[in-house]
């Protein structure tokens, strides 16, 4: 500890009325603290250990995996499993690996994220500032819809999508993702905009700005922290989705998660744990990167409502 230079002699009382007390309070370790750190350490271990096993296994050869020392480090950094997962292996047969799934996921996630965030911001803006008649009831219904599990709507949605004759296409899966995301994004942006002083909106009206101008010139730039938060939430949520991709995308557009499942759930032959681990890590990589890159913004956006300015 850097404070040790000014730390008092052993046994010196740091809590009670001490006439010698001056300046920075000396650091100390209470037993409760130690217990706390042990608990936190164990919790962290609980989450890190599976990740460690995955990482280590993915670099092993098939022979090493069969030795069943799951915590042992690999003898060498063997990239065969990663290569197989990315471009050759599909579980039971030779095929392009999950790289096609990766690009399918990009094609689904990017437009669905952008659309759901922008529409959410727009609806939130309308509900907070223009307050049409029944806005609160409408908002209540939107939020309520967000609480109902989407599996409930699955069959009716399939029928509707089939009616419009886009079932099994990229459009279908993107559209369904946007629709199911709206309750969350509308909720986020509506609550963000409600905290912004109404005077600002009125000042813009006096300046002559209209419905769209106020949104694009004023309210959208102001919501940058929330755009980042909603963007990350939507990106990770849609990327990690399995069900909607499985049901709506059709065989040609299956996202990465569905292909990963195809690789991992083999019904015959030998289970290639190292390839499975590599494929799983590849699937999880992009959301992780997105989170790390924008983590600072994410925290700032989450707490934006709490701190003024």
């Amino acid at each position: 500890m850097s404070r040790s230079a000014i730390a008092p002699a052993k046994g010196q009382n740091r809590n009670a009325d001490n006439p010698a007390a001056r300046g920075t309070r000396p650091a100390g370790f209470a037993p409760g603290r130690i217990g706390l750190y042990i608990f936190l350490g164990l919790t962290a271990l609980f989450f890190i250990l599976p990740l460690y096993v995955m990482l280590v296994t993915s670099f092993k050869t098939g022979e090493e995996v069969r030795m069943a020392h799951i915590f042992q480090l690999p003898r060498s950094l063997n990239l065969d499993a990663w290569r197989a997962a990315w471009s050759t292996d599909c579980g039971y047969a030779k095929c392009p690996g999950i790289s096609t799934g990766f690009w399918n996921s990009v094609k689904i996630t990017v437009p669905a994220t952008i659309c759901s965030v922008l529409i959410g911001a727009f609806v939130g803006y309308i509900l907070s500032f223009w307050r049409p008649k029944g806005a609160n009831i409408l908002f209540g219904i939107i939020v309520l819809a967000g609480f109902i599990p989407l599996q409930v709507f699955l069959y009716p949605t399939v029928r509707v999508i089939a009616f419009f004759d886009i079932y099994g296409t990229l459009w279908a899966v993107i559209l369904v993702h946007i629709l199911y995301s709206l309750p969350l994004t509308v909720l986020l942006f509506r609550n963000y905009y409600v905290a912004i002083p109404f005077d600002l909106f009125q000042a813009a009206r006096i300046d002559g700005a209209g419905f769209l101008r106020i949104f694009f010139a004023l309210m959208l730039p102001m919501a940058t922290p929330m755009l980042v938060v909603a963007g990350i939430l939507q990106f990770t949520g849609i990327w990690n989705d399995f069900l909607l991709g499985l049901v709506f995308a059709g065989p040609a557009n299956q996202p990465m998660t569905v292909q990963l499942n195809n690789i991992v759930n083999v019904t015959f032959g030998e289970v290639q744990y190292n390839v499975n681990m590599a494929a799983t890590l590849l699937t999880a990589a992009l959301p992780l990167v997105a989170y790390f890159v924008s983590g600072r913004w994410f925290v700032r956006g989450i707490t934006a409502g709490a701190v003024k300015g």
Partner: protein
């Protein structure tokens, strides 16, 4: 002289609650009008109705011989300064000042000269490239005033513009606003609950209470000849002392024995009986 701002029988209601019942007020061109009253008296509501941000329940608002009752805020020929400044946080001072003109499609050269002129009047030149978050409270409010000034309008509306500032700045900006009024000779409608601001700034003060106008008059009229008890008690600091007494002729008897001659005061003819005597300390 025709009034530049004429409010005719205006009433404002939120749902069934009438905030301002049928109110009349005429403002002459170049006048500095202060709406004074305790919080919740409807003065800010009235101001936002003049601005067109709140709809009237009944009545009319005329600005420069045009009925603007149903007009959009931008078409009314008004500029407004808010208590919370309401500056656009993601824009620089210059962009804040020019936003309205940009929306209106004014050409760039005009915008630049207009912004430069207002910046000179309000001494904002060194701040033009800064964001509102980098400004002090007083500077922010000067920018907010500037945003109203560039609009080049007939009537300026001020909604408690100084109440978020500390006492020293409040004094400085009060003088600044008065100076602006004298320099520009524009009509200003100014809402405040601070009677010092009202007394020092106003050509005429409108004292309001629960939506009703209590008295309209110059600061000295309101101070010296209050129309009713409310105005007498509300205006003046320290407050007026109220004593019960009896009036006989031009002598008031206070309590048992104290006698006070009120000969010089304008009393209604034949007044007498129990009275309340207001004495300013």
């Amino acid at each position: 002289m025709t009034p530049i701002l004429d409010i005719k029988q205006a009433s404002i209601a939120y749902g069934d609650i009438v905030v301002v019942p049928a109110l009349d007020l005429s403002v002459a061109p170049g006048e500095f009008i202060v709406l004074l009253g305790p919080s919740g008296c409807g003065k800010s509501t009235l101001l936002s109705a003049i601005a067109g941000l709140t709809d009237l329940h009944d009545g009319q608002i005329w600005i420069r011989d045009k009925n603007v009752t149903w007009a959009e805020p931008k078409d009314r020929g008004i500029g407004m300064v808010f208590q919370s400044y309401a500056l656009y946080p993601r824009m620089t001072v210059e962009q804040n000042l020019s936003f309205g003109m940009k929306v209106a499609g004014v050409d760039k050269a005009t915008i630049r000269s207009k912004v430069a002129e207002v910046a000179r009047i309000l001494q904002l030149e060194p701040l033009l490239t800064r964001r509102p978050s980098d400004l002090s409270g007083g500077q922010r409010q000067r920018v907010a005033i500037g945003r109203a000034l560039v609009r080049d309008v007939d009537v300026f509306l001020f909604d408690e513009p100084l109440s978020n500032l500390d006492a020293k700045l409040r004094n400085e900006l009060r003088i600044e606003i008065k100076r602006l009024h004298e320099e520009l000779q524009r009509t200003m409608v100014y809402v405040t609950h601070d009677q010092v601001e009202a007394m020092t700034l106003a050509d005429r003060i409108v004292v309001m209470k629960s939506g009703h106008i209590q008295q309209v008059g110059t600061p000295s009229e309101v101070y010296n000849t209050p129309a009713n008890l409310f105005v007498a008690r509300f205006v003046g600091s320290p407050a007026m002392n109220m004593l019960e007494g009896r009036l006989q002729g031009d002598v008031v008897t206070l309590g048992q024995c104290a006698r006070l001659s009120v000969a010089g005061y304008p009393l209604p003819a034949g007044a007498g009986g129990p009275v309340l005597v207001g004495i300013r300390p």
